[in-house]
Symmetry: D2
Subunit: 374 residues, 4 copies
């Protein structure tokens, strides 16, 4: 699987022996740290969306994006959005901040006073915890501690910068070590548990948008009306109308963000790239920011993904095919995580463009139907 | 990959030729309806959680659950929860209702009166739409239409029973056909789009819990304190305490449901079983209902998953390895969707038991750490 | 207090004896049904916002709106918005549906099967409950029963049309009578309580927007840019920009609706008009729907209030000053509740116009500051 | 109206001349800063809930709580809860933190880079803003600035400690002054508006629970089962069951907090005490934390109100009857705001106890019905 070979079926080039060898390597590697009761592998088809021209801070050049999915039209739709992007001069991207990774243990006390004293202390100077928290990791850095009191209970949210990893396991070990120190320093603690509800892990929660988690990343494009019309047969002025009504009804339903399709985009990229796929639940929050100039008939479109959990080392990123997918994007290994984050935002933007275009031109269903038998 | 072989590595038994043949079959099948720009496959390790004893309405017997993941400890943790279940006499399961699958087009009008007339009509007798909506599907049945007015805009939520498929594509085609009839009948419609924000697809939304989507399914077990103690080293009385504080802080953060780990469980099962993995975002909502008898030291534990989107036909369920995973559970093909739904709830319950146990016994991190190097 | 006297201080015209007599009447009336441990009265200043020209279904003519508040600038701001409305040709209003009033008892069972049987039955034909539910009220009509199962627990949402009253007490008595019948018919019920969490009373909840509560009412105006500019010094094209960004950040915070000021408007109207003021928490949900025509420089603006709990009989509506406030609007007594609902939406729209205008013209703070010393 | 006279009707003691004089004083005062187009006053009946024994940090002694309401049974129900509190040894209270008061202007930029540079700067050292922000107030202190980027837009949340006032107007003037300095320092700002959606004012939002707003205050009591039984006829073991099911269903509906009745309690106290009543929408969030000891049959019950907006100076607190209500609680004027906050939590706890008791004993409706005719 490589960027050159996206027009034909690359695995046909491989012999059965190569495949068997790959399976053996996968077994060795995965059974060490990725799986228990290993029974084999499931094979997910990968399509390459693209090409897309990216003028980012960390991602620069023309990219193909591997998407692993069994949902027909997803790759084609994303590619169509990328065509809109390319004919609009490409996409700008930027990681605007790093929200880190969190663990949020909870502590119970006998009295309101003890709980308050603890909560106040944890919201104060926490530098004494640094050495314990950082002892078990060569990469992770303690960046914040925040605490909330609720009756006689205090939840403590520990934030670390995980570097190039997504860092869930790193922060877990670190938080447990930190908790050990906390228990020594505060003998008034009556009970504690390692999860208190405010880590924001794998949930769709304001905890993350407000306090940070993962990368906050934007992808922007300025689309001429004629380009949108030619490729998606959509009047570009429909897009802001769609957004307004979609947002209003979404708020009635209690949705946390009114994007349309980023759950699909991220899930496919995460499976391909060896991410912790369940983090899609936290990463899928994203907002569209539209600025339509009716005189010039030009739409500036930002997709902002505020809490994107990604890693280019650790987890599943080292497995053979997943590593290959990351390499197709130039995103495997240390120093590549921001590039990968920017490409996630690019694909999200591309798919939103195509999906909204299809919704507004009434072609969405036809596009699906032509590819689907059931 | 088979239930017999879960204790050793089954693919070693297969020759390179077998693997190559499997790849070719996958290519034929997937490139027809599952993927575009097919570039190869990504291989995800599968572990078998289990065995678990199930006394359900649709799932009866001893099962192993295939979970495809690169996150170490997930399979082991789920298996540990299943051990608690088995030693407590097994798990009861039940699909309590079928919420169907939805599409929610939106319609704009010139006046409030026209919008109201349309909205009222759509909330009234919609049987005239049945033939158009059901024309394109041999399985799907129109079961409900609901509509909401917001100014001069009306969102219409069309619900179909998708039978054994998850049904997103089926309902899309059907809704478009229905929309064609709607446009003919209501000439006052000024604009329309196929997505209005209230379908509930791939979002965490009260639309689904209140109006239904997918299967509403429960798994129940009654755990003696001694069993919980022996297997997880947890005082079972800690579990309701954990739930209360976790729920309270979750509400502060705006989480829609205070379960701990079902996002992990479902993602792994969905990847293995050829589901539309992005539907985890809607399916992951689940609640724990606890009833602790302190005299007998026994905890009755229900996990209720109210909006579980699953299918045993269509989508990725026919791909070779995915089909094999479904077959391990006896869940491939028509008439098996409720069984699969019950097994999803079983795995969710098992993982919650193990995860909460680990949190309350302070062993969660150690369990992870022992398996993790980074 | 009367519509004629709004330019001077009417109570100066009353003698001390009149005031004493009024206090006595209030005491007689209030101590019977509105208050216990009666200790006197608190006096809230009332200002009249207006005049405003209304072309509604139930409210037609020129109105002044009594607002009881201690927050300076609220009445002036609402009046300013009404000036924009008047110079734009007045406001159209419409009650688009009646969501009724709810009570949601909860029932526990020994088994999942019993719970499911009960839940299914309650979602089926509930006409057998009508006579018991309607026995205690001459006005209230049973209009819907919906039920949800969560493990072995079922919450039943009983909806009644309360007619001209807000109906919270009516539905409480009716629901208790209905529950009595339910208990007789379903001996499998193990425990029950009269509140299960899905009534939607006095909370900001998707239960109400999706399933209905109170009146769903719209107020619409089409504002020329020149009018907005002259009165509020705001470029009208700023308004949709404000909405988009306000909505996006509101979703980050988990707000259920991105209106700006309706909580202020309704609170003041509800205090003046003898409403159950705590219902502001459910009634304050409202959405702005904007349609800007840049060629004509004209903005169509809808404020849609989907769950407005109001009454013109019962509760505090019969107390002397509250009755007077309702009479100023022609809204006291039977047959007036839809008119009052429409006027609530009018005031909400007027205040949004003025408030958003002030925010976008940067005059909001100055307007406040000129009236405020602290 | 005074604490001595709560058993009879105190205003009967006043002559008509006294009442007329009071009206004149109110007019003078209110028309200066509380109202425009002053048309008279609306009179709300006040009942005194209590007595209640409070062992707080700021509130110590036996108190009566003035509640202004037209909803029968509210005062009686709160008094009943206070009886449970008194017979359980009284209530402990504590203000655990001061979240301040906020204004959240929004700024637009031409480029992602400019927006990021601004956002980073505002999240860094903001001490240069202190003099401008604090210039217009003798009491308010700048305590925090936080900023969030969303595409090319940045929302800045400015927090001040308002001292004894609720402070909404103070922070508005201060934020405008601060914004003036911001505009000077950052010429890249293209547009700005004074409201960006993250102030948390008068909305039910995670912004407030997570980032703070108003006082975070707790009231605690330890109730013997026998006391609960005698006064409310409720088995105290029912209370935690009620909480669990109420919380689960509340999460399905998207409620932000699963308390039952605090919206009622606060609205009545706020009207009586001259508060900005619309702030109930932000203040009503509250959680119950329960700790039931089945061996001793004793329930420890905390009500935690995390974002309570209160003031004892400014706004409506200086109006004659409102001032009198504050004085009944010893809460008028500087240095009393924490005491008032604690008493709000006391009344909230008392009403929750009585309300939950009524729900669990099935007497809630009867209690209402006996006082209600409609």
């Amino acid at each position: 699987m490589s960027i050159e070979s996206h027009t034909h079926y690359p695995d046909q080039l491989k012999s059965g022996d190569t495949l068997l060898q790959a399976q053996k390597e996968l077994y060795e590697r995965a059974s060490t740290s990725n799986i228990e009761n290993f029974a084999g592998t499931v094979r997910i088809p990968v399509g390459l969306a693209g090409p897309v021209d990216v003028h980012g801070e960390h991602a620069r050049g023309t990219f193909f994006i591997p998407m692993a999915t069994t949902e027909g039209t997803l790759v084609a739709s994303t590619s169509r959005g990328m065509k809109v992007i390319n004919e609009s001069g490409g996409v700008r991207t930027k990681v605007v901040s790093n929200g880190g990774v969190q663990r949020a243990p909870v502590f119970e006390f006998e009295s309101l006073d003890d709980a308050q004293a603890f909560c106040t202390a944890m919201n104060g100077d926490w530098s004494w915890l640094r050495s314990a928290v950082e002892a078990s990791t060569s990469h992770g850095k303690l960046t914040d501690i925040s605490a909330w009191q609720l009756g006689r209970v205090v939840c403590v949210r520990i934030t670390m910068d995980p570097g190039d990893a997504s860092g869930q396991n790193m922060v877990s070990v670190a938080a447990q070590n930190g908790t050990g120190e906390i228990l020594k320093k505060f003998p008034t603690i009556r009970r504690h548990r390692m999860g208190g509800g405010l880590s924001g892990e794998k949930v769709s929660s304001s905890v993350n948008t407000l306090l940070g988690r993962g990368r906050s990343v934007v992808a922007s494009v300025t689309i001429p009306g004629a380009v949108m019309k030619r490729i998606t047969r959509t009047d570009i002025a429909e897009i802001p109308r769609h957004q307004q009504h979609y947002s209003n009804f979404s708020m009635w339903g209690g949705h946390p963000a009114a994007n349309n399709s980023i759950a699909n985009t991220l899930t496919a990229m995460y499976i391909a790239a060896g991410q912790d796929v369940a983090t899609t639940c936290e990463s899928r929050i994203a907002n569209n920011v539209l600025d339509y100039d009716s005189e010039k008939d030009v739409l500036h479109w930002d997709v902002h993904v505020p809490t994107l959990t990604v890693g280019t080392v650790g987890g599943g990123t080292g497995l053979p095919t997943q590593k290959e997918c990351l390499e197709i994007m130039g995103c495997h290994g240390p120093g590549k995580v921001n590039r990968f984050a920017e490409l996630c935002a690019v694909a999200a933007l591309a798919n939103e463009i195509s999906f909204w275009g299809a919704m507004c031109s009434h072609e969405w269903i036809d596009a699906h139907a032509s590819l689907k038998s059931r």
